[in-house]
Amino acid sequence: MSENEHHVVPVKLYMLIGGTLLFFTWVTYAVSKIDLGPLNTIVALCIATFKATLVVLIFMHVKYTSEKLTKAVIISAIFFLGLLLTLSLADFGTRNWL
C-alpha cells in the first residue's frame, strides 16, 4: 500500500498492542470461569473481535494506509462471510417454527 511503504510504526506502539492482546487473552480466559449464561459467548466473541481489530489495524497496517480499497476488501470479506452464516441460519434457525 502506498503509505505502508513509508509509514514506520513505532516500536512502543507495537509493544503496547502486543501487551494489550496478551492481557485480553487472559481476560477471556478469566471471564470464562464466571457464569454469565449466554453472555459468556458474547463477551468472548467481543473480546476476540477487539483483538482481531487490533491485529488488523496496527500489525497489518490498515490504520496507516491511504488506500480505501484495502478497507473495502476487508469489509467485503466480513460481509460475505456474514451472508453465508446468517442465511444458513435462516434455514436451521427456523426449522422448528410452525
Partner: protein
Amino acid sequence: MATAVMPEQRTNFLNAEHGVKSWLLTTDHKRIALLYMVSVTFFFFIGGVYALLIRLELLTPAGDLVQADTYNRLFSGHGIVMVFFFLIPVVPAILGNFLVPIMIGAKDLAFPRINLLSWYLYIIAGIMVIHVLLTGGVDTGWTFYTPYSTTFASPKVVETGLAVFINGFSSIFTGLNFIVTIHRMRAPGMTWSRLPLFIWANYATSLIMVLGTPVIAITLVLLVLERVFHLGIFDPRLGGDPLLFQHLFWFYSHPAVYIMILPSMGVISELVSCFSRKRIFGFQFVALSSVAIAVLGFLVWAHHMFVAGMSVYAALIFSFLTFFIGVPSAIKVFNWTATMYRGSVTYETPMLYAFGFIGLFTIGGLTGLFLATLGIDIHVTDTYFVVAHFHYVMVGGVVMGYLGGLHFWWPKITGRMYPEGMGKLAALIGFIGFNLTFFPQFILGYVGMPRRYYQYPPEFQMLNVLSTAGATILGVGYLFPLVYLIWSLKYGEVASDNPWNAAGLEWKTTSPPPTFNFHEDPVVDFEAYNYDELKEIPVER
C-alpha cells in the same frame, strides 16, 4: 484496410519465441489464453461425448443402451466436465486472459506467473478427472450430495473432489489476477467509466470467483476428510445434516452460474455495440448491473433446495430474493435492444450469435422465474424443466456468447479471418439444433419426466427423439467451427489490425499483437464505444 504483410512475417506474440518450452513456460497472458483454448475445447468435446451417450440412451423409453448405474456415471461425468472444466473457465480464461490486459492498456496481467500456475492447476485437475472417468467415474451427479457421496458412492469421489478443489484454485487465481490488474494497471486516462463492458463483466465475475470458490473448496475438503479420515461432518450417524452440505455447496455453485454467464454478457455488449455502430445504451446501467448480479447472486443459493427439507420460512426468503436477480439481467437485455434501435445493424457471424444469446438467454432467464416460484418449483423441480432452463442459459447463453466472441476476436488473436459464410451457417445450424434439443425438454419436464432417469414412460418418447435429433444437429453446429477455425489458421484471409473498425484499445494494436501488447504505451483520451468517431465496417477485413 487489408495489409499485404502476412502475420507470420511480423513479430507478434505467436512467433516471438518458438518451441514447446516457450509455450509451456510462458508468462505471456496471450499464450496462456491459447493454452486454455486448446485444453478447454478438449474438455468441451469430452463433455459433449457424454451428452451424446445420454441422448442416445434417451432415444427409447426403456433403459436399453446402458445400465442404470452407468447412466448415473454418464450424467455425472457430463455435469462435472461441463460445469468445472468448460463453463467456468471458457470465457474468462480464454477471452478474458487474452483481452483484459490489452483492453485496459497494460502489458500483461498483474501476476503473470500465477496466471501460468492457474493453467497448470487446471491441467492437473483435468488429468485427475480424466483418470476418474477412465476408471469408472462417479455416479453422485456433479452435485456430490451427502450422505451418498460420503458413504456408499464409489471411492472415486475422493479423487474427483480433489480434482475439483484444485480446479477451484485455478479459478480463484484467475479472478484474483483480474481484480488486481483492473484496479492497478489501467493505462493513463483509462478511468472506470471508460472501461469496456467486457472488463466490467470480468471484474464482476472475478469478485464471485474470489468470494465463492473457496467455499466449495472447503466443502470438498470436508467431504474428502470424511471419506478418508472419518471426520463425520456430514455423517447423519453423528447427527450430521445433509442440508449443511447443500448449503455450503450451493453457496458457491449458485454464484458459479453467474461466473459462467457474466463474461458472456460482457461479450454481447461488445458485439451489439460494434454491429449496431453505436455506443451501448445506458453504459453505467449495464456496467453496474454486472456488479449487481455478482452481489445478488450470493443471496439466492437455497432456491436449489426448496424441496430438500429446508425450513419453509427460509424457502420463502430465498424465493423472494431470487426474483430480484432477474432485474439486472433484464436491464442488460433492454439496453442491448435499445442499442440496436436506430443503430446500423449488420449481421456478421458474431452478431448472429449475439442475437441468439439475447433470445435464448431471455427464455432461459424467464423460466428461472418459474422455478423461483415455490408452488411451481415443487411441481417441476428435478424434472427436465430445470434441465431445459439451465441449458438455455448455459448453452444458449454462455456458449453462444463465447462463440460470438471467439469469432469477433479471432482476427485479433490469430491474424486471420474465419470464413464468413461458414460462420453464418454454423451459427444457424447451432441455433436450430439447440432449440430442437432443449425446447422439448421444457414440455417433458412440465408433463413430469424426471431428470437423471435413464428410462421414462413411452408417451414421452416423441419429445425425447426430437431432443436427441436436435442434439446431433447441435453437435454439428459445434464441430463446424472447430474445423473451419483451425482451417483458417493457415488458409484464412489475413486480417488487418481492425477488421471491424471496432472501438476499444485492442483494435489499436496489430493483429496478432506483439508480446508486450502495444508498440507504444497507450494513453486513453476517448470514451468507450466511440462509434460516432469510427467509420463503417470495412468490406475488406
